[in-house]
């Protein structure tokens, strides 16, 4: 019998909830594809807990065949850390937006980083509050127009965009894995997420991955403008790459891979 062609979704995706709830061209779908492939590659579906935040990340509440919990701005991380402390054999993924991670719930990120909690955090940087209609976030680029910065973000008034991975890399003890990827390089992003999951599984410490993402709905961009904004404007301010790589320590070297990072 000939097999009918079927979509190549990661095995951990829940096919019956597709098409998913994100807008056309939303970066969340690409990032959750990379996460799904990383979970498949590590074979950890049976022991992974997925936590999503408030914001568009919560549209993933039925996305995976995984036990899933949804909490409020940034609290996803401490909730999952609690689960991890009670059930250390589980792998916990804390998935949230830039507003939840860096503004409304920033204290939870900083505290987890300082404690080197065993959790893998993925922050979706789409430069604004997507779900509520595109207000300025700490990640909004200088001059970028949003609902609350109709003339463009004025850095004199509101400061410069926050650099999340650089912040985590500066305060987390040795053992932390920190990287920034982009939906413009899906293969690299999947690799970063997989390494971040492994860092937790091997008990080294916190794993933090920021993913440069797209929100065509609130950016009001067509496909060409969407890619240009991510690859030119966002990439210029938010450099992609690994900031801390404890898994790669060799020959007694620090293996922390943090040029210019403070000594601990």
């Amino acid at each position: 019998m000939a097999l009918a062609a079927q979509p190549q979704m990661p095995r951990v995706w829940r096919a019956e909830t597709k098409p998913h709830k994100f807008c056309p061209g939303c970066g969340h779908g690409i990032i959750l594809k990379a996460l799904g492939e990383a979970i498949d590659a590590l074979g950890i579906q049976e022991r992974t807990i997925f936590g999503c935040d408030i914001g568009c990340s919560l549209l993933s509440w039925d996305f995976f065949n995984l036990d899933t919990i949804q909490t409020h701005h940034g609290r996803t991380t401490p909730v999952l850390v609690g689960i991890k402390r009670v059930r250390p054999e589980l792998v916990v993924v804390s998935y949230m937006g830039d507003g939840g991670a860096y503004a409304i719930g920033a204290q939870h990120l900083v505290s987890s980083a300082v404690r080197n909690d065993l959790v893998t955090i993925i922050v979706v940087n789409n430069t604004q509050y997507g779900m509520t209609g595109g207000q300025m976030a700490p990640t909004t680029l200088p001059g970028q127009k949003t609902e609350t910065t109709p003339y463009g973000r004025d850095v004199k008034l509101t400061g410069r965009p926050i650099l999340g991975p650089e912040l985590v890399a500066a305060v987390a003890p040795p053992g932390a894995y920190v990287a920034r990827g982009s939906i413009a390089n899906v293969v690299q992003l999947k690799n970063f997420i997989q390494k971040g999951l492994l860092n937790q599984i091997e008990g080294r410490g916190i794993a933090f991955i920021e993913a440069l993402s797209a929100c065509p709905t609130n950016w009001r961009t067509n496909a060409a403008e969407t890619w240009r904004f991510i690859e030119k404007e966002m990439a210029a301010y938010f450099p992609t790459g690994e900031l801390r790589t404890p898994g790669e320590a060799k020959n007694g070297q620090a293996g922390e891979g943090t040029p210019g990072a403070p000594e601990h």
């Binding site: 097999l3 009918a4 062609a5 079927q6 979509p7 190549q8 979704m9 990661p10 095995r11 995706w13 096919a15 019956e16 597709k18 098409p19 998913h20 994100f22 807008c23 056309p24 061209g25 939303c26 970066g27 969340h28 779908g29 690409i30 594809k33 492939e37 498949d40 590659a41 939906i183 899906v186 293969v187 065509p216 067509n222 496909a223 060409a224 969407t226 890619w227």
Partner: protein
Amino acid sequence: MSVAFKAITTENGKGIFHLFPALCKGCGLCIEKCPVDTIGWAKQLGAFGTPVVEPGHGKPCIACKKCQLVCPDAAIWIERRDGKGRSDSGRQPE
């Protein structure tokens, strides 16, 4: 629970282009990423009543799979006409 999606299958250049209209939201991200500009809008409508995509608008497909990689909705599956595509990881036909 198993679900099945219907594909529109088009052979073009080195590729067999499977498009799943029930998943395609017509965002156009794949069109912009195709190195040979073969992807364009089709007559059929997708998940949100917007046009889906099809190959055949530029130079022949080189089966690089960039379109499949960037699609947020897993609406494209590229097989190679030389048969090397079936080894893709992920959900296999049931």
